[in-house]
Amino acid sequence: MVIEIIKGLGTTFKHIFQPSVTVEYPDEKRPVRPRFKGRHVLKRYDNGLEKCIGCALCAAACPADAIFVESDENRDSWRFSPGERYASVYEINMLRCIFCGYCEDACPTEAIVLEHDYELSYYDRASAIYTKEKLMDRLDDSGTATPMQVDPGEFDRAIPDMQDPG
């Protein structure tokens, strides 16, 4: 019996010299998979226009009712997105969202994308509601800020021709 105990403790002792598997999380972050679904980001076109057209299909597809969209009319002098309408209010409650990605699938313009941010913790429930300003992707150097003034008839189509539809 003593030999068995020594054998067993030998395994334990062997593991002392093996490298640790622990990820020192707040200092060192393990990369997520490319298809990981984290916090949402509302995308822009290269010229700075918002991809979201305020159709609220994401809100309809959401199984948790986490998304609230209110749309408004675009004007050529006050344009946020191509087409007739844009999302004037876009809110996602991160504490309701289950990160299923149905909103991504439902979006006709590929405006909403679930990115890789997962550090979502709050001191109160109200701060878990992300507004459009928080969700919107940052502006590239090539784009201009919305609302922008454009020539009439330039951005009439709400849904552009996509390379990879579906």
Binding site: V21, T22, V23, E24, Y25, P26, K29, R30, P63, A64, D65, N93, M94, L95, R96, C97, I98, F99, C100, Y118, E119, L120, S121, Y122, Y123, D124, R125, A128
Partner: protein, 160 residues
């Protein structure tokens, strides 16, 4: 501010009682085992070797409320479970904190129905809400770090 101010070359560390106690509280905040649903799996993963919350002084999950400081509500709380949750919270010694882990504990998430408590803040006061369904172990650790920040900011007048 805190236990890191040093007086000259004398090898003396000066601090306030407040920051010393808060440092002690963040350094050994023992969680209570309160796994109710799928979030419990991630809570167990957080405790295991890969993420290892023992690094933050959370040595092991206590099943006994008398020996724990932090209640991690991991999972959905049914109406029948709510009195039990409250009772266990009342049995925890002061100071005590509650972390609502995941969507279901925070606001019932996708389960918007009569059987579940719509957020454990109906029953107990919640300090930190962690979003995710379920949250990754990293997300839970991030919530714990936020709670530590909150505890470090507590003043002597708030001590129970």
């Amino acid at each position: 501010m805190g236990a890191e101010q040093k007086l000259g070359n004398l090898g003396i560390v000066t601090t306030t009682l407040e920051s010393l106690v808060n440092w002690g509280r963040t350094g050994a905040m023992w969680p209570m085992l309160f796994g109710l649903a799928c979030c419990a799996m991630e809570m167990i993963a957080t405790q295991a070797a890969n993420y290892d919350v023992s690094r933050f002084g959370m040595e092991l999950m206590r099943a006994s409320p008398r020996q724990s400081d932090l209640m991690i509500v991991a999972g959905r709380v049914s109406r029948k479970m709510a009195p039990v949750l409250r009772r266990l919270y009342d049995q925890m010694p002061e100071p005590k904190w509650v972390l609502a882990m995941g969507d279901c504990a925070s606001c019932s998430g996708v389960f918007n129905n009569y059987a579940l408590v719509q957020g454990v803040d109906e029953v107990v006061p919640v300090d930190v809400y962690v979003a995710g369904c379920p949250p990754r172990p990293e997300a839970l650790i991030d919530g714990i770090m936020k709670l530590h920040e909150k505890v470090r900011g507590e003043s002597i007048t708030h001590w129970a």
